[in-house]
């Protein structure tokens, strides 16, 4: 058995076949529900036919959309073209792309590590350098060699902390020279030097 509230629910659910017989049976005995069912049937019919009476899109709608689409395509084309134009790379990228920079980035920490933590290797390198310099330049530079030996002795006399600070202080100097040297070399050896700027057209 279904009552007025059941009919109301059935109407709100869109009058499904389930419960239809009971709802209609109740509506035959209830004037209010009979009116509600009649209104609902009329309303459903109006809603279903509303599609055929729907407003069509205004004239020129498709052209307007396609004009906007064309503008989008043009804009995307400009973006792609702009993306394809080689821009001036940032300084750090230029630096990183230099072979000398890569070598320097490996050598500087290696030299610093040897100077700080491997005194035997350091002594060997310094002595070897002194011998090479002395043999190549002869007695004319014996004074300089003696000075170099003095510097080595002075370095050995320094405390580990002082040696460390000295090494750290030398790092920026080494880096600066590594940064500037490739640029100078590249500028000096570049075949494009003095060539006219490239046209953007």
């Amino acid at each position: 058995m279904i009552w007025c509230d059941g009919v109301e629910r059935w109407l709100n659910d869109g009058m499904p076949p389930r419960d239809a017989a009971e709802a209609r049976s109740h509506a035959r005995r209830c004037a209010g529900c009979a009116q509600a069912v009649a209104d609902a049937v009329a309303l459903e019919a109006m809603l279903a036919t509303a599609a055929t009476t729907a407003r069509p899109a205004p004239a020129g709608f498709t052209d307007a959309v396609m004009a906007r689409v064309a503008a989008e395509r043009d804009e995307a084309g400009v973006r792609v073209a702009t993306r394809g134009t080689p821009a001036t790379p940032p300084w750090w990228l230029v630096f990183a792309s230099e072979p000398g920079a890569a070598v320097a980035l490996v050598m500087v920490p290696a030299v610093a590590a040897i100077a700080l933590f491997l005194p035997n290797v350091r002594e060997f390198l310094v002595t070897s350098a002194q011998l090479v310099i002395a043999s190549s330049l002869g007695s004319a530079v014996s004074g300089a060699t003696a000075a170099s030996a003095d510097a080595s002795a002075l370095l050995n006399a320094m405390s580990p902390v002082a040696r460390g600070l000295l090494a750290i202080g030398l790092v920026p100097l080494l880096l600066w020279s590594v940064l500037v040297a490739p640029t100078w070399l590249a500028a000096a050896m570049s075949p494009r030097r003095g060539s006219p700027p490239r046209s953007r057209s």
């Binding site: 509600a36 009649a38 209104d39 049937v41 109006m46 036919t49 069509p56 959309v65």
Partner: protein
């Protein structure tokens, strides 16, 4: 605008044709996309108009939806039909637009308290069924979500599941919106005189009456 159909359009079922048009549009074929616009413009505009009740706003939203569809058509996976996907874009755009319009309307109402609202004033004995404008105003008394659900379910003949996909709502929510919309519409209809106030032949299907 059917004459603008590209000669190379694949022939077959409408769904297959549409899939081919979508695929070609995704490859950048503007002519194929134009056909899609022609096929779906009235529905997209109709939904936007139902939601916004303003021709210029509906046109703007529908156009914008198509442009966004063009931009994103490469991401369309084809799980649902193109129209369902498009309705989703229209729905989102219309909601954004409605929010802007609401803010603007509130500002204007603050200045002009006499401005006519969207609510339908009950008019006993009015012939709703014979007056499309009045019927549209009745629809306008629904919430935005209810209008969208009713439009897609009745006017576009989508199933509850498809409406849910288009509007990104669970099926239960769609059913709830439909149920509440029917209750509101029936109340408005009754206030306007109901079926008794309709002229003979305004609607068919009298056989269904109790």
């Amino acid at each position: 605008m059917k004459d603008s159909l590209p000669r190379t359009a694949e022939r077959g079922s409408p769904a297959a044709d549409e899939r081919a048009l979508v695929r070609r549009s995704a490859e950048g074929d503007a002519a194929a996309f134009r056909v899609l616009v022609d096929l779906h413009r009235d529905r997209a505009y109709g939904l936007a108009f139902r939601l916004l009740r303003s021709e210029p706003d509906a046109e703007e939203v529908a156009q914008d939806a198509f442009v966004r569809a063009w931009r994103a058509i490469g991401e369309f996976r084809g799980d649902a039909s193109f129209s369902t996907w498009l309705y989703r874009i229209v729905w989102r755009r219309a909601l954004d637009r409605a929010a802007i319009l609401k803010t603007r309307r509130e500002r204007e109402v603050a200045l002009e308290p006499e401005e006519e609202g969207l609510r339908v004033a009950p008019t006993t004995g009015a012939r709703v069924g014979a007056d499309p404008e009045r019927f549209e105003r009745m629809i306008a008394s629904l919430s935005e979500a209810q209008r969208a659900v009713v439009t897609l379910f009745y006017s576009e003949d989508l199933s509850v599941e498809e409406v849910g996909r288009a509007l990104e709502m669970p099926e239960g929510t769609v059913k709830t919106h439909l149920s509440r919309a029917r209750a509101v519409l029936r109340r408005r209809f009754a206030e306007a005189g109901g079926v008794a106030a309709m002229p003979p032949g305004a609607i068919g299907g009298d056989d269904d009456l109790v």
